[in-house]
Amino acid sequence: MKELLEKLCLLDGISGDEGAVRDFIISQIKDHSQITVDPLGNVIAFCKGKKTPKNKVLVSAHMDEVGMIVTYINSDGTLKVECVGGVDPAVVYAKRVRVGKNKVTGVIASTAVHNLSKEEKGKTPGFDKLTVDIGCESREQAQKLVSLGDSVCFDSRFLTFGDGFVKCKAIDDRAGCAIMIKLIQDTPEYDTYFTFVVQEEVGLRGATAASYTVDADYAFVLEATTAADIPSAQADKKVCCVGDGPVVSFMDRHTIYDKEMFDLAFETAKENHIPCQTKTMIAGGNDAGAIHVSRCGVRTTAISLPCRYLHSPSCVIKLSDMQDAYRLTKLILDRTYNR
């Protein structure tokens, strides 16, 4: 799964521009499922199992990642950008990026630290005080390479480090996509729907349409969620810990999760000796927010990977958590088809 994750993470696909990710995913699952691409660009894959279950079950992950979009080309050839999804300007400052279809290399920076005014010192500039520099001298020159509305993606290397950790951009939620591809390639025992959705980061929009189309009884959202387990965080503010297994939430900012399914997840984990944890803060949110209120309601569970430095060019997860999330998802699915 690591190799698959690496390929997925290195593809560029900010919200609304997921084409490259979609094409790759389709290439991986087309021999194992019936695929439809809906008007928004969601991939809806139906996987025929050996048996037909009592319940219609959906597994979903999002293809898009956070990034930036070009909003203006300055007269000196630098680009103004705005964030797409929740991006703290602190994590883009002094980073390399790729701009547009031509993947033009640029750097994000601002006034040199030596030349800051007293008021500016010690503060990270917001997007209004950052530019992307692609090495052009004029607007005319830049316009030959870049257009307004072009996507701006983090240029981040995929790195394996420490005791089984990996780092890259876009782990949120290519990790979910990787697990789903693996589940599809394994061919589930029962008929299952899988949706790879667009535009999660700008308001759970792809999942809203896709879950309407699938019309499931039960849904499982595979995600990456905030782990703040760094030494400066108090125990209750760590949310969840990398290496302690998949995260099953009882509540976040968009969803109060189905209590029976929440309990089922922990029972399943316990019986199979899979580490599993819950979030210690009501924070974040994911496509479950759209799916669980789709049509007349869908019983929804989120199984997430604890991920440090979410929405930055350097997201960090532990591979053992990914393996455990995959195993746990498979086992819970088996207990859901006919419950």
Partner: protein, 337 residues
Amino acid sequence: MGFDLKQALSELCAAPGVSGAEKTAQQTAQQLLSQFAKTETDSFGNVYGYVGEQTHGRQKLMLEAHIDEIGYIVTYITDEGFLKISGCGGIDERALAAQQVTVYGKETIKGVITSIPPHLSEKNNSYSINDVFVDIGLSKQQAEKLVSPGDRVLVENELVSLGGSLVTSKALDDRSGVAAVLLALDMLKDKQTVYDICVLFAAQEETGERGAKTGAFRLAPDLAIAVDVSFAKTHFESEEDCAKMGQGAMIGIAPVLSSEFSQGLIQTAERCGLPYQLEIMSGTTGTDADKISITAGGVRTVIVSVPLKYMHTPVEVIDLGDVEKTAQLIAEFAQGR
């Protein structure tokens, strides 16, 4: 084979050399210098070069650039196995969050500088060096086997091209200066110079111009040209305070510099039709020139700078054309033009 500027600069920038731990950068620079000069090094981290025969009775001109770069130093390993770091030189703390870093411990290991995701913070974050850790994905016990306080940490961006002749990399401050000196020596090959030429690639500029102090004492030059980088205008900066990219070397004028020497360089540029820009400073220069000029009984010193954007970040930007123009100015001056 001619001197390949971009290739040399790429090698120089890639070599780790945080202040006080310049060994790899020192070796890379010495290797490149050895094709033009007899070289030696010292325990301080400096590289010295003597070009051709050093003749008695001629004035000795020292070409100088610093070999160290901005970086971080490990100060503590936490119970969780994360590293606390401090700055080596005047770091830009805005550039800390979410960087991939290399820790030069017993082995070279990789890690990430911590940040807090937007889901858990009210507004945009600003980080100081005291707020962050290096996450190396190891327990304290594992970490202690590989990392010790004092190890250096770097954000390692290799050199890549942007538009035109612009390049971005870490450490362009001041490997651009080192490359300009090397290119000047290449231009001077088989040429008559009016000075005996020696070279100093100095350690520890970023922490207080210390290598230049000991190095200039050792070489005892009559004249010195310090080659560094200085501010090129970026989008939010004023034209009045900065040079322009691509418009040639910045010749420094400052109370602590030899005004006669500054004027001499201006005349060389005028006579040879080389583009140049003036950089006026009202006291010291914040470069090795400050220390060189008061070495031993005093050295007539100037500073020549390559315009650079986003100084002290891992995404510094320069124009290779400016390095060439800087080298040309030095080479013409050395020939007495």
